[in-house]
Structures are given as structure tokens and as C-alpha cells.
Symmetry: C2
Subunit: 367 residues, 2 copies
DNA sequence: TAGCCTTCCTAAACCGGTTCAGTTTTGGTC
DNA sequence: GACCAAAACTGAACCGGTTTAGGAAGGCTA
């Protein structure tokens, strides 16, 4: 049953740490280049090398040049570990994700967000320490141990919740942070926000303009700030359009929940003619459920999502959705966090509001 | 346009590093608990505390107890940074992902894999350092700098390629690693594998049994080992079933490419009656394209995917696919890497072969 | 009682940077 | 030439552990 494909030459038990030697000409120990060696070469004390490196005042211009020259010749890079010990910093940032693995897997937000973060951190020589934990309790413990171990100098706070306990915790721990979105209580941390209200309102307005009167909402978890905010935006938009209150079903943002909610909505006596989903994965699941129930989209049911994930363009019909920009968000958050740590303060950043992208999943009702 | 929602009380510019003080009773400096303090309390030298902590021989049993007791009373945890400096280890593991952001975003493999990795690392006090880079060249540089900075003690090697340059690089750098899958050339590193051949072959066998004779393959990138292996398995399965060679289109695993490939296949004079996709996102895109072209699935076209991502169950018709188990993979890889670093060697692990999951997207042809 | 191991422990070096008190050099002013 | 301040630089302490050489105490053999 186990078909061997290209099994490499390897005697059992030979797997192991590769030998340290790399070049053939390694006669003795490859002499480690430390700040001492550089100092000697440049004919100065190691303290001065340190000064020159971190370009601080008090080093004569020509001496500085000589030192940097020596460092370059020797190929010296200061030891991050030694530097960490004396500066009490780790030159790394942290991201703790507390999510049900299923939800995490179907949500493309984080991969993109992280790609954005990395694009800023890498050139700065900062690393990203990632933790994925199963629940909120473990999450708090994780922050504590990240700080206790001095693993990170700052963190990204995503998936804000009402009265988020992480904010006082981080304050207590003295850990700088950036919040993705604005917390609903006083926070000392800079916030990077994308206003998602206009996008949701535009979705509803778009549906209303098409003639829909019974619009339902498959919402995300109301414990999450953006979940309840999108919910509020939905209700406000209905009022604004002069429509009656719509049905709302709260979910955990998972694909399975989106599917279930859709079934419940569509198997009623008077089903809605349009459904606004709080994220794309649920909308796609809803699309599947509609198919299964024989409800044609968009002719008998209009559907909108949120996020504009890659899939949207390629399901059928292509999904009308609201375009967020997680990569941009990641970049902004990383820049802000770096600024905060460097200057001791950073301004909030408001990214351009997410915009409605109209595709084929919405049409006038009973078309 | 910018609707303010719960803007917290905050004077501009007040954002900044939160004050370090946490408890009200912080009279003077909160006295840092170092190994010195513990040593003093236990009435021994700090060297001995170190010995006791790392339970090494040469400490009298009662003394050891006294030391550990003192440490507990003082709430002492050894400083990771200091320990890093003297042991030359970082107690962190690395994962470098080189992927087009689009592909990365639609592929739920990594989130799940990482969740699995974390479930093993966290209890061991190890952190995961994640890098997402745009291309293979940057990837190599990233490994170099991770080592140069001593950020990680070992790495996970995913998305193996033919004659993968990362393997000799890691050997040169002396960095322990675990490969996800077996490289096609000698490798000193332990491999954690899931044999994907049986799954692909089962897919084809299943389709052949249903009566399909024109089966096409939308393959992944052939530079990736698992891409070309699945391709080979596909061809082999056709031969085994006594079917003629099938059409194969190579892609980059992206949703867009899956959609395009499907259009090309279906708009031919004699289109296939079944398509085997190298991953689920492409299969789902293929499903969308089939709908768009008015080709009914599964009646006029059968479709199979690979990975069994969450979506599969919720699209319509639900997708027949091959179930991989990225979380289990993550766990196995993390365990193996830890073993390797502790013992200097670790055995290969063969995880149970991925299995075919039959759902609604496959049926006899021209039903 | 000397000689020799063990066992338990200490003191100090070490990892490789940063930082600061203080010394030497430089240059300007009267 | 004396005086002084600023600039340039050194030496040593420091971050907080690990590791090693070696010392003291105790037990065993001859």
C-alpha cells in the first residue's frame, strides 16, 4: 500500500544533526567574529565599536569609518542574542490567534495579514512570533508567557472583543500593542482601522435599490467587535432604506454555521429574498445550500459576502462582496507598531473604508 | 462617511507605551528575581542553582529540594535571553513560507498545519517564528538570516521542490530540519510523510469504476514534489484502469488557474467527463466554471479535489476529495523536530495515507 | 595515617553585546 | 602658557544565565 517514491539513500539512524563543518578548508575552529575582534582590528575599545554601530554621538567621523570598515571586512554582525540580553529587547513582534481551527482554516484573513506584516518586518530585521491557541483563556496565558520569556517587544491585537480583557492585561504587562480596529473602551494603544460600516451599508443599499424588501443577515459572533458592528450597520441600513427589521442569525463565522443559518432562513414560510453574510466563507456555504435547496441565485435569492476572498470571483455566480484589504492592513499595523516602539507613541491609522464589489450573486428579486 | 463607533477617551498623542507600573504598592523598583537571588536564598552558589534547575547530577538531593523550593517561593523563571546567550540556542523553531500571497490565502493548509505545530510547541515552551516571503530567492536569504541571528534552532521544510536548494543550504548552515515529505535526493533530515499517491489513485479508480473514460487532470506546479507526484499517480492510475492517457494541465495551484484550466478543458470539442484537481480550491473554482458554462455537476461532469478543506462539504454538490490531515501533520512534524534536536536524530514518520472521501460531485457520466 | 576516589559545592570565566563613569585628547580663549 | 570645556575614547561593570576548574569533606582501601 505504501508506494515508495524516490526514497533517498539513508541508513537507518543516520538521520541527525548535520555536521557543522561546511567548507573543506576548515582547518581549526572557524574563528568567531565578535565585537572584540572588530575592536582590535580597528584599534579601539569594544565600547566604541558599539557606539559606532548604533551611530550614537561621540565618535570621531574618521574613527567611525574605520570601525565600520573593519566590521565589513570581517563580516561582523552583532549577535542578536547578546544584544537582546543587554538591551532587554527581543527585536521580535508577536501575533496570538485564538480561533477554532476550523474557522481559522477557512478564513484567508490571517495568511494575507501576515504576509503584509512580514513585508514590513523583514527589512527591519524583526521577526514575527506566531501563536495559535484554541481558546481565549489560553490566549491570555500565552501573552503572559511571551512577556515572561521576553520573546516579543510588542504584539498585534486582532479579533477585538467587547470589553476585551487583553487590553488591561497588556497594559499590566507593559507590552506595546496595536489594535486592529478601535476597542470599545479606553485603550492606550494606537488603532489601525478599516471602517467596515460603509461596506455593509452599501450592500444593503444595493439590495434595497434592486427592490429587495426581505433582507436577512447571517452575522458573525456578537462577542467580536467587528461582528456586532457589522450587525449594527446592517440594522441601520435597513432603517435608512425604510425597510422593516430584518432577520438576523448569529454564527461563529464558520462555514458550517453559515450553511445551517442559510437552511433555516430558506426553509421558512416566507424566506428572505436576499441574504447579507458577515464573511465570504459563510456566503459561499450559503450559495451551496441555496443550490441544494433548489433556490436559484441570484434569480430567487441574492447573496452578498464580506472580505472579497479569492474564491468570490470563481464561484458561480461570482459573489457580490465587500473588499477588505488584509495585506494593506498588515502593513499598516506593522508600521504603526514599529513606530510606537521607536517613538513611544504612534497615531491611529484609518485605512480607506472597505468598498462594495458588485458581481453576479445579486439581482432584482423574483427575476 | 466615517461613522464614529465608540471612540475611546484619548487625547491625541497620548498613545504610547503604557506605564510599567502595575500594582499600586510598587514602592521602589520591583526587585528582579535572578538566579543570584535564588542562590542567596537557598544559601548556595548560583552555579549550583543552575545545576539543580537543569537537573544534572552532582547536587545533593536535599540541596536540590531546597533550591527548587527557594525558586518556587520567589517565583523565579530563568531568563530566556540570558540562557540563550550562554547556550547559543533560541528555543524557537522556524517556518518559512514562500508562496504567492493569493495562493497562500486560498489554501487552508498552513493555518491548520501551524495549529498542529503549536499544540506541540507551546507546552514545551518553544515559540514558532514565522516568515512569509514572496519568492524562493528571498526564502533562502531568510534562512540565512534566521541562522545568522540565531532566531531558531530548527526549521520545518514544506513545499519540497525537485533538487530543493534549501536542503544543501540547511546542511551548510548546520540547521536541523524536518521535511514534510521525502525529498527526491539524499537528505540528512528526518521526513514526515503522508503518502498522497493512494488518494489520487483512488480518485481515478473511483471515476473509472463509475464508467468515466475521459478523465483530465488539473495538476499543481510540477516544480513542487507533491505536485509532480500527484501527477505521476494520476497517470499511473489511468494505466492501471486500462484507460488512455488523460489530458493534464499544469497550474500554480491558484484558484484563478484552476478556473482557467477548467474552461480550457470544457470548451474543447470532446471535453472530459471527469476532472481530477490537485487541490480543493481549484476544484471549487472548477465547479464554479462548470456552472458558468452550463455544464451540470455531477451529471455531465464529475469533479474530485484534494485536501478535504472545510468548504468541500458546503459547496453544491459537495466535493468528492481526498482527506489530508494538516493538523496531524503539524503535530508529527513538531514532535519529530523536537526529538531531532534533543537526541541528535529522529526517525522518519509515515502518517496514514490520505483517503478518498466520496461526496456528491462524482457520478456516472452522461447520467 | 597516608593516599585516593567520590560527592558536593564554590568561584570565576564565559557568552557578546551595551552603557556609563571617568580619562585623555583637542581646540579655543585670554 | 594657563585654563577650561567639549569631544573622543577607554575600561569595567552589567545583562543573567551556563560551564568548568578546582577545593573541601567524607569514605574507602592499604
Amino acid at each position: 500500500m505504501n508506494i515508495p517514491v524516490n526514497i533517498p539513500v539513508k541508513t537507518p539512524g543516520s538521520t541527525g544533526k548535520p555536521a557543522a563543518e561546511s567548507t573543506a578548508k576548515s582547518a581549526a575552529h572557524p574563528p568567531k567574529v565578535t565585537i572584540e575582534v572588530v575592536a582590535k582590528r580597528a584599534g579601539v575599545s569594544k565600547g566604541l565599536v558599539s557606539f559606532a554601530l548604533n551611530n550614537r554621538p561621540g565618535v570621531a567621523p574618521e574613527t567611525r569609518v574605520r570601525i565600520l570598515q573593519a566590521a565589513k571586512e570581517l563580516g561582523w554582525k552583532p549577535s542578536l542574542r547578546a544584544r537582546s540580553l543587554s538591551t532587554q529587547r527581543s527585536y521580535a513582534l508577536g501575533l496570538v490567534i485564538a480561533r477554532n481551527p476550523d474557522v481559522l482554516a477557512s478564513d484567508p484573513f490571517f495568511p494575507s495579514f501576515i504576509a503584509g506584516v512580514e513585508s514590513i518586518l523583514a527589512p527591519e530585521g524583526r521577526a514575527l512570533v506566531l501563536s495559535v491557541v484554541p481558546d481565549a483563556e489560553t490566549e491570555l496565558k500565552t501573552y503572559r508567557s511571551l512577556v515572561a520569556d521576553g520573546r516579543v517587544d510588542g504584539v498585534f491585537l486582532t479579533d477585538l472583543r467587547h470589553g476585551d480583557p487583553r487590553i488591561p492585561l497588556l497594559v499590566e504587562l507593559g507590552l506595546p500593542a496595536v489594535t486592529l480596529g478601535r476597542p470599545d473602551e479606553p485603550s492606550p494603544f494606537p488603532a489601525v482601522t478599516v471602517d467596515d460600516t460603509p461596506g455593509v451599508m452599501a450592500s444593503v443599499a444595493h439590495l434595497a435599490a434592486l427592490g429587495h424588501r426581505r433582507i436577512a443577515h447571517v452575522a458573525g459572533s456578537s462577542t467580536l467587535l467587528h461582528g456586532s458592528r457589522r450587525c449594527a450597520a446592517f440594522a441601520a441600513a435597513l432603517r435608512e432604506a425604510g425597510l422593516p427589521e430584518g432577520q438576523t442569525i448569529e454564527t461563529d463565522f464558520s462555514v458550517a454555521a453559515g450553511s445551517d443559518a442559510t437552511r433555516r432562513l430558506l426553509t421558512q414560510d416566507t424566506p428572505p429574498t436576499a441574504i447579507v453574510y458577515a464573511n465570504d466563507p459563510m456566503a459561499i456555504a450559503g450559495l451551496g445550500m441555496a443550490h441544494e435547496l433548489g433556490v436559484r441565485v441570484p434569480h430567487e435569492l441574492s447573496i452578498t459576502g464580506y472580505d472579497d476572498i479569492d474564491f468570490c470571483r470563481y464561484v458561480y455566480p461570482p459573489l457580490t462582496t465587500v473588499s477588505a484589504a488584509p495585506m494593506v492592513w498588515g502593513r499598516a499595523a506593522a508600521s504603526t507598531l514599529l513606530t510606537l516602539m521607536e517613538n513611544g507613541s504612534a497615531d491611529d491609522v484609518d485605512l480607506p473604508a472597505a468598498r462594495l464589489v458588485i458581481r453576479g450573486s445579486t439581482a432584482p428579486p423574483r427575476g
